[in-house]
Amino acid sequence: MIQSRSRARWAPGLLAGPGAAFMILVFVTPVVILAASSFLDSGKQLTLAHYWRFFSEPQYFSTLWNSLRLAFFTTITAILLAYPLAYAMATFSSGWRNTILIVTILPLTISVVIRSFGWQILLRNGGPINQSLTALGLIDEPLRLLFSETGVVIGLVHVYLPFMVLPLASAIERIDSRLEEAAMMLGASAFRRFIHVVLPLSVPGLAAGATLVFTASISAYVTPALLGGEFIQVMPTMVAQQVLTLMDWSFGSAVSMILTVVSLFVLVIHWATAARFTNWASRAEVVK
């Protein structure tokens, strides 16, 4: 008994050890090196010049704005597409639920590079989408989908939709169906049942999904590079350009750090507000 209890104390540490060591090696160390190099000039002297350069030149600064805007639109689009899907998943019978689940996560098994090339074919001026729209008489000129923000958002939504659907479906699934019945008995229409009961109770899943999709799409490289090309410059493509093409490691590091800070900022907002959105749940835990 005593033995097993003492084992239980160090067992979690032991189990977490390899993972933690790996994360320190591949995440913390590079970030520290990156941070260090972003504050050094060519003579290894401390400097803020790289950051000053980023925020003083509109060309660089607008890249950050591009990234934020793309991540924002991707997140909003993902929410709008994922919510009905997640709701269906949570309320359908297990057969349908599994079908939707598989259809949702199946694209994850295909490389983002391959999918982006696929979208290139679909989205280009003479591609199937523009051809169909022209044939239907909906447009006269082909829409500029490829190498535009629209194309990048479409590609990003496709890649990150599962990260929105899964937490959302699990949050909706946890909502007791009798709450909706109770609301119905009290006179709430289907729309008001959604607004007053389902939506507020799914906020934890919504917030988790939005944070995942936002941070993932703001740091995505392949999709903006292949679907935006030179026309859509985002933070990750700028980092690659600075480091790989221009060999400016220090400025590339500074841009990386800014991107990392933005992502961390989003995470912090999530942690800070999640507790507020769900104070009823955390307070309930204390009683139970």
């Binding site: 009798r178 709450l179 009290l186 709430a188 008001r192 109770l201 769900t278 307070r283 309930a284 009683v287």
Partner: protein, 385 residues
């Protein structure tokens, strides 16, 4: 034997014209060939507290949910205050529903929960209004109005669920297994509290339970349900004294059951051979017992008398051996073995005074003719519980 309508009138003796709040007529519900409800009839008067009692799967919850509008019956009629409500939206039936799990909105405070129905009716500031205060006062929960449901105990949650329903002044209050989620001590307390509340508000109430003690404790009348049908509706006393079927007999209270053979059946009575002892039993009309048929005889534990002295000539006396004497405080329970029954016979003596009878004593059992309930032996499907 009194029918349900008689029992109802009996219950509300004195009031010249009894107002009927709920009528269920010929109600059936089928799920993929399974009959959850089978031609159910039920009449509930204003102010009555009726329980739907039965084992799980007997259709009691389906009946309740049909009245609420959460289930669509396959056929039949439901009228509230004489008005047909099938096809009317649940919230327009003027029915309050308290769920087994209470189904309080976890993200709303107590006040917002209680005000929800009023808010849906267009009163945006309802949760701060006087109606919510009155409702919370009724269930003595004003002091916890700002809390979230998760911060309340089971009993408190139940009160809020009731407050949330009664704030809309429903004609009918429906409760689905309202006490099942509470622990024993709290359950007894809440049963009495809900009954007192129901009396005070005079609100017609229907509640579902599988617990006979609960049904006996708080109901004006009990509808015993089995396999989608109402087997019998009567007052608790009426059901205990005059169960119409073996199912009801077994479901309400304890009973000793013996099997015997009808030696002679006449109008109003029969002589029955009970393992060599010939006893006389009264026979209600239509009991279905004929000479030579097998009969099921039942006597309640407190109706059997055990005496140490041998019976005098011509008196009833079935010899039995006391195998166990259990002192239960207010009463003494004797377990006996006798030739007339394969099962141990259980009798209960009020006062708990053993008066010389103990384990190993040889006694003679007797009972009054009127305390015997007799059923045809073939009519006992579902009697085994």
């Amino acid at each position: 034997m009194p029918g349900p309508e008689d029992a109802m009138k009996h219950q509300f003796q004195g009031s010249a014209d009894v107002e009927v709040d709920l009528e269920v007529r010929d109600l059936s519900k089928e799920y993929d060939g399974f009959r959850a409800l089978d031609q159910v009839d039920l009449t509930v008067c204003k102010g009555e507290l009726i329980s739907l009692l039965g084992p799980s799967g007997c259709g009691k919850t389906t009946l309740l949910r049909s009245i609420a509008g959460l289930v669509d019956p396959s056929q039949g009629a439901i009228r509230i205050k004489g008005k047909e409500i099938l096809g009317i939206a649940p919230h327009q039936r003027n029915v309050g529903f308290v769920f087994q799990s209470y189904a309080l909105f976890p993200h709303m405070t107590v006040r917002e929960n209680v005000g929800f129905g009023l808010k849906m009716r267009g009163d945006k500031r309802a949760h701060t209004g006087p109606a919510v205060d009155r409702s919370l006062e009724t269930v003595k929960m004003q002091h916890l109005a700002h809390r979230y449901p998760g911060e309340l105990s089971g009993g408190q949650q139940q009160r809020i669920a009731i407050a949330r329903s009664i704030v809309l002044n429903p004609t009918l209050l429906l409760l689905d297994e309202p006490f099942a989620a509470l622990d024993r001590a709290l359950r007894d307390h809440m049963q009495m509290e809900v009954k007192a509340l129901q009396r005070r508000l005079g609100i017609t109430t229907l509640f579902v339970t599988h617990d006979q003690d609960e049904a006996l404790r708080i109901s004006d009348r009990i509808a015993v349900m089995n396999a989608g049908r109402i087997e019998q509706i009567d007052t608790p006393i009426g059901l205990y004294k005059n169960p119409r079927t073996p199912f009801v007999l077994n479901f309400i209270g304890k009973s000793n059951v013996f099997s015997g053979r009808v030696l002679q059946a006449t109008e109003g009575g029969a002589t029955i051979d009970l393992g060599g002892h010939v006893i006389e039993v009264p026979l209600p009309a239509g009991a279905g017992l004929v000479t030579g048929s097998k009969a099921m005889i039942s006597v309640r534990p407190e109706r059997i008398v055990a005496e140490s002295a041998a019976p005098r000539e011509g008196e009833m006396g079935i010899p039995a051996l006391v195998t166990d004497a259990v002192f239960l405080g207010g009463s003494l329970e004797l377990h006996l073995r006798s030739a007339i029954s394969e099962q141990p016979i259980v009798i209960s003596r009020q006062g708990g005074d053993p008066s010389g009878i103990q384990e190993g004593s040889e006694v003679w059992l007797s009972w009054q003719q009127g305390d015997v309930l007799t059923f045809p032996a073939s009519a006992s499907p579902g009697a085994e519980l």
